[in-house]
Every structure is written in structure tokens, then in C-alpha cells.
């Protein structure tokens, strides 16, 4: 870290402090929690883009898969639904995976020709119908069980901190599959392909009610260890005595304390990641990655397996992003599939990475905290500001329209910010050394 970085981080810190003083500390800490999460997401994206030059537009897919992991790991078990069709649904999915694997194997090991094409087609088509035959009835039975509150297979009911690594694994597996398919392609084809896979993941989470209750939202996911619930704290005599002693309001103190614990937890994860990433970046492996990014041909000529390294970094980056997605859902306590839009969770993260400084881990953290603040402050302050701007106007359609659309100003602002940074300071606020 150099002086420039220290100044910039201090500046961002002042933004958060000002928010706390002028608006409320609750809002400020809330934004900080999401800013830290965004910083972790940005670190994952920076691994793919900054270290390896891979442009993926499927970030939102990894984040949503991470969120799905929380549902499976910590969702309440629904034994009746699982008994009704759990194993059958799992075997249906296993058939689907086996079918695809068999098709890939046939393609790889059979000599090219009409026989191979035919074999692959037969395997895929018959596999598809077999899968639907096993899977559909199972899903129907699962969704039939108490659809008003359940209708899903349920999870393991574990503490949701376990879901964090599992979320990373989910995203990593998906990244392996998509990387195998798309990494050999031209770079803008990779962008289009990842856009598509993310769209499919989101659709699945929205419409496969048996997993996550789809758009009916799965609520009541437990908080990660060791975060307490505010109501429990307020009932705790020790805590009440502490508040009385210091003259604090128990309600505000407990909400702030819970937020504080989240901030510490997320900051620890972020710190660990940065430490690991900085070490990796300065290791021979990091040098090789940068060599590949800067000149694939010469790196390949030096005997580096470019495609394999791209796959590895793509998986690792997605895993980090997936973990942050799990952290996000475990904090919210619910999975809201409608929230996962590419604009919010793919392109906004990209803006963080590029504004912060591609290739620089501290830059991604700065970008996450700064852009995350900008994005969220508009939710809270946007209508206030627009209200002030339009205060002198007569009440009417135009005024109410302006106040209504105030939150949309952030799209415009951030787009302009991205374009300005790309044009005048393409290496970002904190350039790579």
C-alpha cells in the first residue's frame, strides 16, 4: 500500500462516517456490510480479469449458486417432502449428469464420423427422456407437500457458516463445466456464453420450486455462527444491564452490535482472502498468470498450458464469488431469486473492479467499498435529494415522476463513471504496479 491508497481508503472511510453522522449509523453499517461483500465479489472477478484477462458476464450466476448452497446446507429439513421424492429426484439428476458424461465420452473417444454424431445424439436424446421420466414425478410429489409453506426438499438444517465454503464449491463446479465449454473460445464469445449460463442458473433458481421455492422466496434461513438475534439480546439480562450501565438504548445497541459482528466476520474473510491473493500474486504462479495475461502466445511458447491455467483461475475466481453469494444469503436469512439481476450483480461488480484498478487486489476492495456505497446510498438519500431539488416545483405528474425515478440516476452515474475511468485512467484508481 502506498500513500495514494491510504488517502483513497481514508476518503472512502470519511464517506461512511459522514453517512453515519448525517443519515444514521444503521444505514452506514448496512452499506458497509454490503460494501465488504461487494469487495469480496470484486476480488473474485479481479482474479479472472486482473490476473488472467478473462471477461465473464456470469458473475450473477455464481452469486446465486452460492445463495442456493445456503438453502441446501441450512434450510429447515422437510423429511416428508424428501421421503416423497428426494432420492428419486437425486437419481434423476444423476442420470442427467451421467448422460452428458456419456455423450462427452462418446465424442472424445469415438472416431469422427457419422457413427459418432449418431451415438452422441442418441445418448443425449434418450438420456433427456429418461431423466424427465425419473425426475418429473419426483418433483411433482415434493412440490405437492404443503406448498403454502414448503414444497421444497428442504436442507440439512446446519449452521449457515458451513454454507460459505459449500457456496464456493457449487460455483466452482459450475465454473468448471462452463470453463470446459467456453474457455477455448474468443474472448467476447466467452462473455456471451457466460451471460447465457448465468441467465439459465437464475431461471432455474426462480422456477425450480422444489429446490428453493422459486419466486415464493425461501425465508427463515438461520444466521451464521456466532451472530445472535436482536430479540434474544434484548431479552438477555446481562446485555440489558450493560446497556443500562452505559446509558444505551437496548434496541439500537443490539441492531448495531449485530451489524458490527457481521462487519468483523466479513472483514476477517476479506483480510484472509487478500493475504492469500497477495501471496499468490507474488509467487511464481502469480508471475506466470500475468505472463499469460500479457502475452498468451509467448507464455505458451515457454511451455505454459494456457488453457489449463485459464480454467484454474476461472474456477478459483468463481469460487470466491460463490462464497460471497452464500455469505450474502446467510446474512439476509432468505433467498430472493428476483434480486439476482445481471445489472446489479454482474456489471456493477465489473464497475467496481475497473474503477478500483484491474489487477490490483486493494483496488478491488476500494472499488467494492466506494461503488457499493454509491449504489446503496442512492436508495436512502436519492429520494431525499430529489425531493430537495424538486421542492420549488409545483406538485404534479413531473415532480412525482422525478422523485420516483431518482434511484435510477445511479445507473446513469455509474455508467458515466465507468466510461470516464476507462477513457482517462484505464488502470483505475489504484493501478497495478
Amino acid at each position: 500500500m502506498n500513500t495514494r491508497a491510504i488517502y483513497l481508503f481514508a476518503g472512502v472511510g470519511i464517506l461512511y462516517v459522514l453517512t453515519g453522522v448525517l443519515l444514521s449509523w444503521n444505514v452506514s453499517l448496512n452499506i458497509l456490510i454490503l460494501g465488504l461483500l461487494s469487495a469480496i465479489m470484486a476480488l473474485g472477478v479481479n482474479m479472472q480479469w486482473g490476473y488472467a484477462g478473462l471477461f465473464s458476464t456470469g458473475i450473477v450466476g455464481s452469486i446465486a449458486l452460492g445463495g442456493l448452497a445456503v438453502v441446501f446446507v441450512s434450510g429447515n429439513p422437510v423429511p416428508e417432502a424428501f421421503a416423497a421424492g428426494g432420492w428419486q429426484a437425486i437419481s434423476g439428476l444423476a442420470v442427467a449428469v451421467a448422460g452428458i458424461a456419456a455423450a462427452v465420452a462418446a465424442w472424445t473417444y469415438m472416431p469422427p464420423g457419422r457413427a459418432r454424431n449418431l451415438a452422441v445424439a442418441v445418448i443425449l436424446i434418450s438420456g433427456f427422456f429418461l431423466y424427465r421420466g425419473i425426475f418429473d414425478p419426483a418433483v411433482e410429489r415434493i412440490e405437492a407437500f404443503d406448498p403454502a409453506t414448503h414444497g421444497n426438499v428442504g436442507g440439512f438444517g446446519l449452521n449457515s457458516i458451513w454454507a460459505w465454503p459449500v457456496g464456493g464449491v457449487f460455483a466452482a463446479v459450475a465454473a468448471w463445466a462452463i470453463g470446459k465449454i467456453a474457455l477455448g473460445l474468443r474472448e467476447d464469445y466467452l462473455a456471451i456464453a457466460t451471460l447465457g449460463i448465468a441467465e439459465i442458473v437464475i431461471t432455474a433458481i426462480k422456477s425450480e420450486d422444489w429446490m428453493s421455492r422459486g419466486v415464493k422466496n425461501l425465508v427463515g434461513l438461520p444466521r451464521p455462527w456466532p451472530v445472535p438475534y436482536e430479540v434474544d439480546m434484548q431479552a438477555d439480562p446481562g446485555f440489558l444491564a450493560f446497556c443500562a450501565n452505559w446509558g444505551l438504548n437496548p434496541t439500537t445497541t443490539s441492531t448495531l452490535a449485530v451489524k458490527g459482528i457481521y462487519i468483523v466476520m466479513f472483514a476477517i474473510v476479506l483480510g484472509l482472502l487478500i493475504w492469500l491473493l497477495q501471496r499468490a500474486l507474488n509467487s511464481p504462479w502469480g508471475r506466470m498468470m500475468r505472463a499469460i495475461r500479457d502475452n498468451e502466445v509467448s507464455a505458451a511458447a515457454m511451455g505454459k498450458d494456457v488453457k489449463r491455467q485459464h480454467l484454474i483461475i476461472f474456477i478459483l475466481g468463481s469460487a470466491v464469488v460463490g462464497m460471497s453469494g452464500a455469505m450474502y444469503v446467510s446474512m439476509l436469512g432468505q433467498l430472493v431469486p428476483g434480486e439476482y439481476t445481471p445489472l446489479r450483480f454482474t456489471f456493477l461488480i465489473w464497475i467496481m473492479v475497473i474503477v478500483g484498478g484491474s489487477g490490483n487486489n486493494w483496488g478491488s476492495v476500494l472499488g467494492g467499498l466506494l461503488v457499493g456505497w454509491l449504489w446503496l446510498i442512492v436508495d436512502n438519500a436519492g429520494p431525499l435529494i430529489m425531493g430537495a431539488v424538486t421542492a420549488g416545483m409545483a406538485d404534479g405528474a413531473l415532480k412525482s415522476h422525478l422523485v420516483d425515478v431518482a434511484p435510477q440516476l445511479r445507473l446513469l452515474t455509474l455508467g458515466v463513471a465507468l466510461l470516464l475511468v476507462l477513457r482517462f485512467s484505464p488502470r483505475g484508481l489504484l493501478p497495478e504496479k
Partner: protein
Amino acid sequence: MDLLNALVAFLNFVVIPAASYGAQLAVGALGVTLIFGILRFSNFAWGDTMAFGTMAVILLTWLFQSLGISIAPLPTALLALPFAILITSALLLGTDRVVYRFYRKQKAKPIILVIVSAGVMFVMNGLVRIIIGTQEQNFADGGRFLISAGDFKAWTGLAEGLAIKGTTAVTLVTALLTMAALFWFLQKTRTGKSMRAFSDNEDLALLSGINPDRVVQVTWVIAAALAVIAGTLYGLDKSFRPFIYFSLLLPIFAAAVVGGLGSPMGAVAGGFVVAFSEIIVTYAWKKVITYVVPQSWAPDSLMQLLSTDYKFAVSFSILIIVLLFMPNGLFNKGK
């Protein structure tokens, strides 16, 4: 009789919707492919360009309606098209001047231009949402049906109806005219020929005295026209919601890639390939099959290969298959 009913149901629920959706995708994909051919990047702002153009059409439609101008039974939106194209051209030319030109002169890598276009996407998306809001807008006026299902049943005595919506007819005719005009322009005019030359081999084109700035400007104007037309046709047929237009990117890119990026003929074919596969895979075939097979064989299930939620999975699969096995597209003879 049952076979006829099956055929009518097939036409009504598969062929007609797919043809009109395909025409919309084809016009959209033509824009993507032109930009790719001349400017050499995949424009992620395309969906939002379409949304912007459609927004201009909607606002002008409201203006005309309030002035009492109408071209009934045709939708007023058609009258608004030329003006909206002017507005959108101005926006795209402005964007090129302020944003893209710098990177073109620098000869930046295509991926940088893709990221830049994502920034442009944010700006345009913000503009659209600020000006018209995020709600759904329905701006189709004019004749509802060319042939309504009830009339068709009365004429033919069949159990199945065949409905042709006014917007379907408008879509097909407008798209056909647009494509004809574009192909005539590319094949027959001097500017069109210079555009094709530029797309084939930039250096050779420059050597033979083609003015690159002019080619680029013409491309943006044509792209604006295509974006406005594709967006308006889609909006007339379904409805206008800004975020829907963003998600149209995927089928449109799929259509352009299927045909081979840079090939206009391919984009048109690709649009129809994507639209027909989407609808064939997500259509519930129960009705058609029940007519065709003997009574006792009639299926209980919907006979739907994939639920309609997954229509994007279809365009995605087509995209991936083409990228893996025919990277130059179905219609590009090895470049």
C-alpha cells in the same frame, strides 16, 4: 378433419408466433452483426439501444395520439418510427463520437470495446428508466386482429381457430421491408459496397480510398434504424419493459452467432432458427398430438420438452453448439 385441426393448431401456436418472433430477432441480429462486421466488437449495449429507440417511439406515439393523428388501422407507432430513428441515430452517432471513436483510433482490443459497451449500456439503461420509468407500457393501437380465432372457426367450421394479430402482420411486413431495403443497400449502392469491403478486409478497403469515418457513421445510422424497428416490433407484439430488452441480448446474440457474426444473411436465418427452436422446444404439444394420434394414445402430460421459463436455455444451447462445432456460423463458408 382432425389432421386439419392439428395443422391449424400447429400454425396458430407454433408457426405464426415463431415467425413473428423470428422476424423481430432477425432485425435485431442484423444490427449486432453489422456492428460486429464494421466495428469489430460485440455490442452489449444493443438491448438498451433497442429499449431507447422503442421509448422514443412510445413517446412520439403518445404525442401523435394527443394531437389526434392516426393511421388506423395501422398502429400509430409506425408513423413514429422515422422520427425515432432520427433521434436514436443522433444518440448513437453522439456515443460514437464521445466514446467509441477514441478506442477505435487506439486500435484497442475488442474486449475493451465490449467493456466500454457495457458502460454505454448502463448509461442508456439509466436514460430509459429516468425518462419513461420502469413500468410496463402498452402502446399498440390500431387493428387488433387481421383474422380472429372466432371468425376463422365460423368460416371453416374447424374446432381450432387461427388468429393473426394485427401486430403479427405489421411485424412480418415491416421486417421484410427492412431486410429488403438493407440488402438492396448493401448489394447495390456505393456506400453499401464500401461497407462490405470494409467488413471483409479493413486494410484493403482503406487502400482503395474508402473513408473509414463515413463507413462507421453510416453503420451507426443503420444500426439505429434496425434497433428502433426491432425494438418497436417486439414492443408492439408483446409489451415494453426496459429490463426485458436487456434479456433480449441473449437470443439476439445467439441468432447473430448462429448465422456467423458479420454475415447479414446469416443473421436473418439465425433469427428464425433461434425463434423456431425456442417455440418448438417450449410449446406444449399435447393439443396437436391429441388430434393426430388415435384417441386411446392421447397423452396425459403436456408433452412439453422444456417449460417456457427455460426459453433462454434453448438459445443458449444453440449458441454453444454452434460455437463449439461451427465457430464461423452455419452460413459462413470458412473464413
